[in-house]
Amino acid sequence: MTLRAPRTWRSLSGCRLGTRAETRPLVVLLLAAASLCAATDPKAAAEADQALALAHEGKYELAIPHYRAAIALDPKLPGIDLNLGLAYFKLNRLSQAATAFERAAKADPSSFQARVLLGMAYYGSRKFAPAAANLKLASAQQPDNTELRFKLAQSYLWSKQYPQAIAEFRFLLARNPDSAPVHMLLGEVLDAANQPEQATAEFEAAAKAGPREPEVHWGLGYVYWKQKRYDDARREFQAELANQPQHAQALAYLGDSEMHADQSQAADHLKQALKLDPKLRLAHLDLGIVLAASGDNAAAESHFREAIRLDPKRPDAHYRLGRLLRSLGRTEDAEAEFAKVKELGEEQPQPPLLTVKP
């Protein structure tokens, strides 16, 4: 399991790094009207002008056919691909935006705007490897643009280029040592790179820098939980719940951590978690275990089956259900679950770090 929740800590536009300088936009997005004026084909220029006028009014959907018509008439119209890409970008049609930005970047490889926008189009469409490649080229032109480098660092993280991500986040921390989000993200990289001690240290720094920061205690609790430091994890999940009482995952993992100490407490938290999010597989599995231990076999079976329904490829719920059914004398049903575990043994998911070389 990897740290998934922190990916939603900050939206593209909502990143807060702590200083005014760092919150400046990645790039000033100006429509390239001046460039378009240099068009030589009058029909193409007219289509471009109309497109720009519509875009200025925010009518991107209407502007696009005019951009395309202008391109058809004069594919080399300066700035036209950038503006078409922007229209697509504004409409969140990121794949088409990327295609247009690719053409713009190819036409002018030194264009900072084209490179940033291309990187952000890939970033928005979760294609983090090409996002990182383009944002890296852009950041070479503006090495002090911390917002840009934050996006670059995230792109490295989510394209699993861990050493590069670590370097970028460390650069950002050198600029702003008290940024809880950056500490958290660096913690996430280190966790993904299987460096639990360093990851823990970063999450601890994040919690110290921003104890009220949403998700900070959740992230720290999660790395403790992964290390099976259940007492520490429990404390952090409780702290997260103090900040965000409706945090379903924190409730579920709090319950799971309590499974290793006091199962009676665990049940309440697991039930609360499932009320908030009935799709939490771990909570169903754990609640099944607690209920089976207390003799409520029918309810336990129901939760095990729900855990299996949510992720039939994991062996644990099959194993638990099989053991419950066997204890109830339902030998054939139990055997079926055990057989499923054996079957899954040969279908295990790819490990995160070792993959067959293509």
């Binding site: 861990y162 050493p163 790179a193 299987n194 460096q195 639990p196 992964k226 290390q227 099976k228 430091r229 290793h260 994991r314 062996p315 644990d316 719920a317 099959h318 194993y319 638990r320 099989g322 053991r323 066997r326 139990a334 055990f338 575990v341 054996k342 899954l344 043994g345 040969e346 295990q348 790819q350 490990p351 770090l353 070792l354 993959t355 067959v356 070389k357």
Partner: protein, 552 residues
Amino acid sequence: MRHALLAAALLGALWAALSGQNTPAPIHFAYRPIDFRLDSSETPQRHAPETMAGGVAVFDYNNDGHPDIFFTNGADIRTLKKTSPKYSDRLFENDGHGNFKDVTERAGLAGSGFDNGVAIGDYDNDGFEDIFVAGVHGNRLYHNEGNGTFKDVTHQAGLDKPDAQYGPLWSVAGAWVDVNNDGLLDLFVVNYLAWDVNTEPPCEASPGQLDYCHPKFYKPTPNQLFLNNGDGTFRDVSAEAGIRAHLGKGMGAGVADYDLDGWMDIFVTNDKLHNSLFHNKGGGKFEEVAFETGVALADNGEFISGMGLDFRDLDNDGYPDIAFVALENETFPLFRNLGKGGFADITQASGMTRLSTPMAGYSPTIADFDNDGWKDLFVTRGHVQSLGYATHVQIEQPNTVFRNLGGMKFQALTAEAGLAAQPPSRHRGSAIGDLNGDGRLDVVVTALSAPAELWINDSPAASHWIEFRLQGTKSNRDGIGARIKLVAGGKAQYNQVSFSAGYASSSAGPTHFGLGPNKSADLVEIRWPSGIVQQLGNVTADQVLKVTEPLK
């Protein structure tokens, strides 16, 4: 000035005493070198066998009463031949004081292939321990000729045939066990996975950096059971015995009679698969009951990297428990035998989850290292991945001994036990025995591309001990499978004769008991595999006692 210095020194000593700095750990080892270096032919291509080598045996090859050491070794990975003396298996003879002399050449044990594991047992009951060597695409059986030499009898024994369906198998370990109580040791062979140097997939840890592949990229293979015909030959009964149908990626086998029905059972750890427990029903038939008995998976229901194991009574209730090890974040699981045909996972309750989560282990051995009457757990540590993977996990690790505090609670001792005296390494196999005859169990450990380590037990307590060297008459001569109950100071302890312990290794010395302050055992009861029960009263401590099976 001198007075001031003296006062400071005294104060320092007092502080050290108060803070426990000078308090030696109850279990302690001192490092001793031995002239053996495990060479598994590590290549940049990272072929799987390169990281799995390293079995070792402690046994008395010449019956002089002193435990000797046999190391298996690798070979050229492409040819699987020992193309250089650096790949030689090695036999070291003990002079009785823990000093070792290389007698490999004279013994004829240099070997020829890529050897992985070793199992010691006197399969022909002639009074001399024989050697089974498990290897990659080729096993060897060496008969002890009784004159300091061994003869390769693999072909005569019928143990050189490739599997009809799977071809040559990669055997990692073996276990000698009399499965039908006919007085002859049979051979259980643990096979890992289907591997071929020419078709093995290249696996990347990161772009451009190859590392050892996850086991899921290889097909499972069957384990094998060879029945001893009593004439120097063996018959593969894997299919009819109910073993062959259960494919796995075996890493270790432990033998014990877990349900005390008089038939020896076999537990097998598998790598990233469920474990197997072969319950011996008698008549040469087994049923696989890992799921039914609760030992298929740890309680969390996940597939983990099951490595070596030991199968002995840890809580002195007379029922053999199971300890095995795995990689970091997988814990070193402990299954407590509930005595009703089932086991409970007590990894969390015993404290082992917390202690072992950061560790990667290979070879666990259950034995009483401080002679306090509770068996402890020595674990060789090191990761399966290559040194290049060190940015992701701790590859080289020190060994650790988990001291049994009683009540199935454990304390991890590493530096405290002296085990940080050597740099961390990629430790693999281990075997135990009293190498210097001082009544304390020592440990021999192998490490990949590194010197082997002798850990001489110098634990501080002057506790008493006793060892039993059994000699079967109706039962197999080694007494493998015999259960020994010992009562001293009003407390009972149990162990069984089994030479299979740890990863790919064999500890074939006498069966050891720690007696704490007791200078004698009030009662010793031996239940031989033949069914004969033998009792001894008031047995003096601090000796190796030879016990011969009575005729009835």
